[in-house]
Symmetry: C2
Subunit: 125 residues, 2 copies
């Protein structure tokens, strides 16, 4: 499959795919004319990469995690890196949850302050 199709199917831009290759996250065969050729499996791979990016991993961190996908065997070091990232994400989730709750508190206050005194008793029963 060529780069345009992969981009479409994985939901990323062509530019992004070239960038991933630059970061060595994805390896592509080349046709005699130099066009990139991807296997079917690249779709899932790119989607996984996107998942990790959206979770805040850097290209470098992803690069350290990906080899496991290929070989399905991990060195203790790789396992540790996976755990480190997982823990970092958990921490981030906790931070976000705190912010989420704080915002929710504010929303409650805001909703009340919005309501005119006359309708207040009606809406709060």
């Amino acid at each position: 499959m060529r780069i345009g199709k992969l981009a479409e199917r994985a939901g990323v831009s062509v530019r992004a795919l070239r960038y991933y290759e630059e970061q060595r996250l994805v390896i592509a065969d080349r046709s005699p004319s130099g066009h990139r050729q991807y296997p079917e499996s690249a779709v899932e791979r790119v989607k996984f990469i996107q998942l990790l990016y959206s979770a805040g991993l850097s290209s470098k961190a992803i690069l350290h995690v990906l080899p496991f996908l290929d070989t399905l065997t991990a060195t203790p070091q790789m396992t540790q890196r996976l755990k480190d990232q997982r823990d970092r994400i958990r921490t981030q989730i906790d931070d976000l949850t705190r912010a989420h709750d704080r915002l929710n508190d504010l929303i409650s206050l805001a909703s009340e302050s919005e309501i005119s005194p006359a309708t207040c008793s009606a809406s709060r029963g």
Copy 2:
């Protein structure tokens, strides 16, 4: 209180505080000589700003949310913005959770692949 003390107490850099002022997130009085003067309340305000930054809000988004802290009254538009941000955070939490779970799956696989065949039956009962 002056900027150094506020930075220390709020757990941010002096540079960051100047940046927040540039973004109009924090307003500071000035001494005759031009030094910034902050009230006690600035500590909590800055901590709250940090919370929102860590939740991925931009300066602009924070700027739209903060007036509520000062007035304790919200326009419907402000309430809506609060809700939008809360929803965005929730979405982000979901993304992170998915990544977290995927990584956990990988960690399970990795832990297995790490174990030598001889010890495998022992560790898996």
